[in-house]
Amino acid sequence: MSEPGATIFSFCADPSSIDGFEWLACYLTTAKHLSIYWSVGTVLLLLAITAPVALLFGFGGASAARSRVWPVSIIGRSYIAVVRGVPDIAFFLFFVIALDQFFEYLRHQVKCPDWDMPIRQGNDFVVCAAAKLPLGNAPQWMHEVYGFSLAVLTFSIVFGAFAANVLYGAMRAVPRGQIETAEAYGMTQRQTFWRILVPQMWVYALPGLSNLWMVLIKATPLLFLLGVEDIVYWAKELGSTKTSKFTDYPHGDWRMWYFAGLLVFYLCFTKVSEAVLGRISRRLSRGQATAAGEAQRKAALS
């Protein structure tokens, strides 16, 4: 099976006759290589969805941990605490199976109420066919979307706990006097929370959240472990030895170079994020009564 002739450059029609730069240009634009470029999009999509969802989970967790109702507070605190002592990778591997089984179990309860066999039969997890996720006859893209959604949810739960920790700290960092003033004005608990605490906490949360964003970027290759065809998958796939039998572009074991490429990609990504986050932090601390804000004021004066 030969790959279809690349169409991006006209000189790629016969790969065996070209070499040097042209060969490389053709090689890097084969149909399979386009998939690795697309999977960069997968990484960005994961970041784009996970970041806000995790922030939401984190906000929920932090608010729960602050709650005066102790069962709620216990739930919030244990959500934050449990991810601290355990390797995160264990959570990723755990949640991806656990969530899948949880959803299938729920659907099973709804769709097949008159099923009489146990769901856990020894080493098998059996639900009725109608409750399978995705359905057995679903097209391939449904499987991929479902796998990706599970991965996003897993990332959000784990990173939500970390965000909750950061936000919990930020809520406690808001000066006590601000809350007391709000109470003196006769604001209710709810008003104090939404009008005083939440708007002010972000500047304290930003360093932690920036750090979390960097960590999230560096966690994206773990998608590979959750069974998503991401850049790690394609780097392994494309880099492995290819003989002329299967492709017009035979080469030896190049996986090392593909992963070197990924290293550079992530280095650039972190560098760019660092620059952007630095700008945001400067912008947010302008006019704030913090050390950074004070330094800006002094710099403007001199």
């Binding site: 706990a161 090392m256 290293l263």
Partner: protein, 268 residues
């Protein structure tokens, strides 16, 4: 088969001692606890050695990073950026395939592509870079008065470094360094899921936990066991580092001793 038999068969299975075949069906709780615990030996091995060796490289890198000579500073900066700016997962993959290519150079380099050496080198370099950043930060926040006092006493060069700079750096960096140690142990679980092969099924705790989860299709037993082991390990690390922390701060009033607070750092 009693649980004691299982311990004898599988207690050191991760090192290749004991029963050759892993359990294949009718998994008991005892088997899971013993095998995952046996895998913890690898996590402790990787973490402890990388940490001990990385400590010295980290101090050297931090000093080089703070040096005024750019010939020392620039390489240290680049080293720290390379290992802190990219995912450890990708570093493992890259190192594994690079070591595979090195194999053809000389048979002496064969061991590099097996986990006990290759992964250890990556973890050693990685933790050195992360710790170097911590120590560098501490080095930069040594009180000015300490250095001025050293000047006043006429201390120079290495004796000043050993008696003034290093103790204060360690004291300031220790709480953050404790966290680094904890998360180094956590990241040792990445070794066997990232290319490095578990030869004849000798793997770490996560390797066995995911083995059981795959076989039983029930993640609710092996992963909590794994979590339990790691919480124990984390508490041990906090305890040991706490003893050192108390010793580093023994000349200060009790309430000035910085508390070690666990700060999550997640994956590198």
């Amino acid at each position: 088969m009693t649980c004691w038999d299982v311990v004898q068969d599988y207690g050191l299975r991760s090192l290749g001692i004991g029963e050759r075949l892993l359990p294949r069906s009718d998994f008991t709780l005892c088997q899971q606890v013993v095998l995952i615990g046996s895998g913890m030996l690898w996590n402790i091995y990787f973490g402890a050695i990388a940490l001990a060796a990385g400590f010295f490289l980290a101090i050297a890198t931090a000093v080089a990073k703070a040096h005024h000579n750019p010939l020392l500073r620039k390489p240290a900066d680049a080293f720290v950026l390379l290992f802190r700016g990219s995912p450890l997962f990708i570093q493992f993959f890259f190192a594994y395939f690079a070591f595979l290519n090195l194999k053809s150079v000389s048979p002496m380099l064969d061991d590099l592509s097996s986990a006990w050496l290759g992964a250890l080198i990556v973890l050693f370099l990685n933790t050195s870079a992360y710790s170097a950043e911590i120590f560098y930060g501490a080095l930069m926040s040594i009180p000015k008065g300490d250095n001025e006092a050293a000047d006043a006493y006429g201390m120079h060069g290495f004796s000043r470094f050993r008696r003034i700079t290093l103790p204060t750096t360690l004291r300031l960096a220790w709480p953050a360094y404790t966290n680094e140690a904890i998360f180094l142990f956590h990241s040792t679980t990445l070794v066997f899921v990232s290319g490095f092969p578990a030869q004849s099924q000798r793997g770490d705790a996560l390797y066995y936990a995911s083995y059981f989860a795959d076989k039983t299709f029930n993640p609710f037993v092996p992963y909590p066991i794994l979590a339990g082991y790691f919480i124990l390990l984390t508490l041990t690390v906090i305890g040991l580092f706490g003893i050192v922390n108390r010793r580093l701060n023994r000349h200060l009033p009790r309430e000035n001793t910085p508390k070690i607070r666990l700060r999550p750092n997640l994956i590198r």
